[in-house]
Amino acid sequence: MAKQILNVTDLSMHFGGIRAVDQVDLDINEGEIVALIGPNGAGKTTFFNCLTGIYNPTQGDIKLYQEGKKEARLNGLKPNQVTEKGMARTFQNIRLFQKMTVLENVMIGRHCRTTSFIAGAIFRTRHNRREEREIIERSYSILEKVGLEKHVNDLASNLSYGAQRRLEIARALATDPFLLLLDEPAAGMNPQETKELDDLITKIRDDGLAILLIEHDMKLVMSISDRIFVMDYGKKIAQGTPQEIGDNPDVIKAYLGEAADA
């Protein structure tokens, strides 16, 4: 049995009378790719936002376990604190820093792992210069990993759509996470780009990261996930291996009678 790194119990998020997320349980083990699927409006992104501190959940517990560290309860932490704990995310609608270069976008990700401040910026001590050099080199190596090293000095807004998606992943990787949350990484991608993304996600997993992804592209989900959770109307309606989910009548019903592997 692999070690559990994230355990969500009984998580609910209410907006007034609307229960966007209703008592959802979810867990992720070390080095696992877990997918969270469901029809539009099922509450997947709200669930993500609760995990990453953008919303403060109405009830429930989010616990993060990291090797050699105490368990951390994430409820009510700010997004930057969650990221510091080792859980990084990407966004469904791309949220890059458009007027910064590709490299700088990734360098921002290194922010929470570095310490230079006002005095360091002004006086540039040897320590600060070394730190700055490390930020740049580390960011560049991450860009190489996602295959964007040719665009280092381009503005983020000038990248193609698929490249922007990959840059988001690179930026999240730069925060040194052990759990990566991807919100619809394949949305709007062509089959070729989806294939590349598939390879990239697998590569990231092989580096020892666990991944939780929201995705609509069933082919991608079925091929790379170890386990799948299905949500509908804010509730979890199924969980299991891709095989089990594909045969689950509730899931098929939720997707309007279409087979999930269509």
């Binding site: 990221t83 560049y140 925060t175």
Partner: protein, 411 residues
């Protein structure tokens, strides 16, 4: 060459202007003598003037294309032409350093080349350069629209005036204190506006600026009210007595020194971990937080560091004019400093410097136009914003060079 079509369009434009200006420029009604004067010659002036101007603009657009292809063919000096000339010069130390040195030399020789009036005007302009660079941190880099920047300027000025009045402290002792006090006020303003952005932030900061001014105006026991504080001593120079002329020149050099320090510090700040965090905050607040940046800390440092410069300039302002009252710290000042940043180019240091010099020096040198001075000034601002909405010099991100060896160096 300009085609018939273009001529026709220019003609139409001039007819339009003649029509539009007809009621104010042509008809002149005198209600007392009950006469109407028809000034047809004005109409002719407007018509010909607009026609010529329109032709000129069209010719400019046609020639611009040709000029562009011309610069590309000129590959001398290693200039390729796919980036603005200014950016090229800024990037290339070979040209930047001599140019900077020449500018510095000119700045240092300025008091001996021109009279004290010019020196005084230049001192003021350079003070606005520092103010602009300070506000640039807040508005240009961190993207927090601050309409009450003048409040920190007032804090600096009044801290010198009051501390000197009550505790007899000298200029050099108060300079860091004024900076610190302004920074503290920056944080005080920062806390309530942490959650605000854009228009809402603008309104709150506007209110903050007005609060400071109204307090200074109405709390007479504290600030001597609208009558202000006079007889503020000029800065000393190792206890030397100076006559007015040398005091002005001394002040000028002081401000030149401050400008150099400001450029150095602001440049390093922008190109640092903190500077990148500011820009990220400007670009996307939610993504910025999700990437592990502490929004509170980042915003407050932007406010505090921006305010620091205003505080320093405030102290210098009080020392320079030797008299201050709340009327010097109205919203108009904030608006001018903001215009400097926007006009110069948000986030661009050179842009802000040029913007400040233009905005402060232009009204001085337009005095020749007497009563049309502010009209011409306004027209120039409008034209600049129409033709260069990104500012005089747009900010360009730093690029990094990677050698192949860098790849093997890291894992």
């Amino acid at each position: 060459m300009i085609s018939m079509e273009e001529l026709k369009r220019s003609f139409k434009a001039s007819v339009w202007f003649m029509f539009l200006t007809f009621p104010i420029l042509v008809i002149k009604v005198n209600p007392i003598e009950k006469t109407v004067i028809w000034r047809w010659e004005n109409m002719a002036f407007v018509g010909i003037g607009v026609f010529m101007l329109s032709i000129l603009i069209r010719a400019f657009y046609i020639h611009r294309e040709r000029l562009r292809s011309l610069t590309i063919s000129k590959k001398r000096f290693g200039y390729i032409g796919d980036e603005p000339l200014v950016q090229f010069i800024l990037r290339e130390p070979k040209y930047l350093y001599p140019l900077a040195a020449a500018t510095l030399l000119f700045a240092l020789l300025f008091p001996s080349l021109f009279d004290t009036y010019q020196t005084n005007v230049m001192t003021t302009a350079l003070m606005y350069v520092v103010l602009g660079l300070g506000l640039n941190i807040v508005v240009g880099v961190a993207g927090l629209l601050d309409l009450g920047y003048v409040a920190f300027y007032a804090v600096g000025a009044y801290s010198y005036a009051l501390l000197n009045l009550h505790f007899d402290l000298g200029f050099w002792a108060i300079l860091p204190m004024g900076a610190l006090l302004a920074a503290m006020f920056g944080i005080v303003l920062g806390f309530p506006v942490l959650r605000l952005r854009g228009d809402y932030l603008a309104i709150v900061t506007l209110g903050f600026g007005e609060i400071i001014r109204l307090v200074l105006e109405n709390w007479s026991e504290f600030s001597q009210g609208p009558s202000g504080i006079s007889n503020i001593p000029r800065p000393g120079f190792f206890g030397m007595e100076m006559d007015l002329n040398s005091a002005i020149v001394y002040m000028y050099y002081l401000v030149v020194g401050l400008v150099i320090i400001t450029i150095f510090v602001v440049n390093r700040l922008q190109d640092s971990r903190l500077g990148r965090a500011w820009i990220a905050l400007r670009e996307d607040e939610i993504a910025c937080q999700a990437m592990g940046i502490d929004k509170t800390k980042t915003k407050l440092t932007a406010f505090a560091l921006g305010a620091t410069w205003a505080g320093i300039v405030g102290v210098i302002f009080a020392a320079k004019t030797t008299f201050i009252n709340p009327a010097s710290f109205t919203f108009l000042e904030s608006a001018i400093i903001l215009s400097i940043v926007v006009l110069g180019g948000m986030g661009s240091i050179l842009g802000v410097i040029i913007g400040a010099l233009i905005l402060i020096l232009l009204p001085e040198y337009l005095r020749a136009l007497s009563e049309y001075r502010m009209l011409a000034f306004g027209a120039i601002l409008v034209l600049m914003m129409v033709f260069r909405p990104q500012g005089i010099i747009a900010n360009v991100r730093r690029s990094y060079q990677f050698k192949k060896s860098a790849k093997e160096g890291d894992a």
